[in-house]
């Protein structure tokens, strides 16, 4: 029987609600971005984000339900991001979901935001398990072996900045504006990627980890070398050089993970890219060069489902609901929540790895 889930997302600077059914129909998908509120600060301010979420979330839920032509009684569950993310925002979405479930006697599913990204390709492309996931966003950069719902093994992660964070910081240094990722991509189209010799941090290392802080420093030095007179072409060249360096690093690290993944899952040649940076076409093209060569299928959900949204939350909720993995009303919002801890593993503290 078809099941229907309402999804709620509020872990960063997007307030979102969506209704999705188990036949992979996205019945509604409402996203309100807070970009304008945070733009003057050049980054997401947690308290400003929390204030915006509480002001709009209930109205967006009503909109999503109306657009889907679904009544609360028709829902089989409500799913909300329970972490990782900015705790103030996560708490608003999670408490709202708890309230709806309590008022309508529905099961609650408190979700790991990364799991929602990880399972999006099954909503959009019906991808079978297992697959290799490259999760690249403003808060995360990791390679994960996905063998089933609730079964994730992290193969590598960033030791410092997330890849989207590196894009935003590079854009900020060049004064391009916020959020930086899309602006760097646009500027890079008119740039010469060979002009600046930037490093490829971690390339060739005997693991699948990432590091972007050195690249950030190199962008700063390149800017200094141009001096005060940097023009649009200089910025375009630097953006292109930066983006090419990021692409090379992601390709190198992913290629290594593909080797490991294929050893464990022979024949399962599937690479899924998810997260906001997956919306970057140049990065997608760079990664397609390695998947083409090694016979991997490359699956990238459409851009609107790569950036934060609630349809992915609703879908992941449906996947968990099918397995009876629901949450208690006392579930807590979590700022940090590594994906592979879902399957029982826990992070060792102070290893330098980010969730």
């Amino acid at each position: 029987m078809t099941q229907i889930v309402l999804g709620i997302e509020s872990s960063c600077d997007e307030t979102a609600a969506a209704v999705v059914d188990s036949e992979r129909n996205i019945l509604s998908n409402v996203v309100l971005s807070q970009i304008e509120e945070h733009a003057p600060y050049g980054g997401v301010v947690p308290e400003i984000a929390a204030r915006a979420h509480i002001d709009h979330l209930d109205r967006l839920i009503a909109e999503a339900m109306a657009e889907a032509r679904v009544d609360f009684d028709d829902l089989d569950a409500v799913a909300a991001t329970a972490g990782p993310g900015l705790i103030g925002g996560v708490m608003i979405g999670l408490v709202t979901a708890k309230a709806i479930c309590t008022a309508r006697d529905k099961p609650l599913i408190g979700l790991n935001h990364l799991e929602a990204h990880a399972l999006t390709a099954r909503l959009t492309n019906d991808v079978a398990f297992p697959y290799l996931l490259l999760l690249v966003s403003g808060g995360h950069c990791q390679l994960v072996s996905v063998t089933g719902v609730n079964q994730y093994k992290r193969l590598g992660t960033t030791l410092d900045d997330a890849v989207g964070e590196a894009f935003d910081k590079a854009a900020k240094m060049m004064g391009l504006g916020y959020p930086g990722g899309p602006l760097v991509e646009i500027a890079a189209r008119k740039g010469d990627a060979s002009r600046f010799k930037l490093p490829r941090p971690m390339k060739g290392r005997d693991n699948c980890d990432f590091s972007f802080s050195g690249l950030k420093t190199a962008v700063r030095r390149a800017l200094d070398s141009i001096g005060d007179q940097a023009n649009d072409q200089d910025h375009a060249d630097l953006c292109a050089s930066f983006q090419a360096a990021v692409g090379d690093v992601l390709a190198d690290r992913t290629k290594r993970a593909m080797g490991l993944f294929e050893e464990q899952h022979p024949g399962a040649r599937r690479l899924v890219i998810a997260g906001g940076v997956a919306a970057n076409k140049a990065i997608g093209e760079r990664l397609s060069t390695i998947t083409d060569r090694s016979g991997f299928d490359l699956i990238v959900p459409p851009p609107g489902l790569c950036t934060d949204n609630a349809a992915m939350v609703a879908w992941a909720g449906l996947e968990r609901l099918k397995l009876g993995l629901t949450s208690d009303m006392t579930i807590s919002a979590r700022a940090r929540w590594p994906l592979d801890s879902l399957a029982g593993a826990t992070d060792k503290p102070f290893t330098g790895a980010k969730a």
Binding site: Y41, V45, I48, I61, F72, K98, A99, A103
Partner: protein, 233 residues
Amino acid sequence: MNILSFDTTLNRCSVAVLAAGQVLAHKFQVLQRGHAEALMPMISDAMEMADLTFSDLDLIAVTTGPGTFTGQRVGLSAARGIGVARSLPVQGVGSLSAIAYAARNDGHDNLGDGDILVVLDARREQFYVQHFPADMPIYPAAYLPQAVATNELADLLPEKTCVLVGTGAGMAMEMPGLNRPGVRATSSPPEADAVAVAELAILMVDRDGLPTVPPAPLYLRAPDAKLPGGRTL
């Protein structure tokens, strides 16, 4: 009118269910953190105790603040979540008004002809303050709540006798200019409670009708955020 009310703005978590002005259920606990986890089970328990279902409710009432930002948003998320799920109106009630209402009505203390000055400890050397003159109703309030520097509280003190109530009342009595005849701290509860929230909501609805838009938090403080170069907006 059947009302579900709750408060999570400070170091308590309280829930009440009222029908025709009578308290059918009342639950509370002292809680410095964990409101987001404790609230829903308390609401379910209170509804069960009152033998009401959510479809029996006519109104949700909740404190809007001031208080802790997280606490305010937990209460409002819950209230607005129930509101949207059940198409119920949500009445916001000021936390300082709820404290003053209880002080005036619950009989803990004979306030005499004293004005009420609700004083919350807002940290960072500030109080959240609201003045309720003895001859004026709690709602509509004569004065708005405001944030003041702790050492400037005396400027807000009414001329005549005045009773201080709230989490900052004891601390306030130590401040310059407060220790004078006619000014005293009360033994009334220093924090808002869901019963007073519901009773105030009834007064508000009687006067203004049912609310048509959901309430927003009352912060009294801008977010901590610095623009590039350390400026603030």
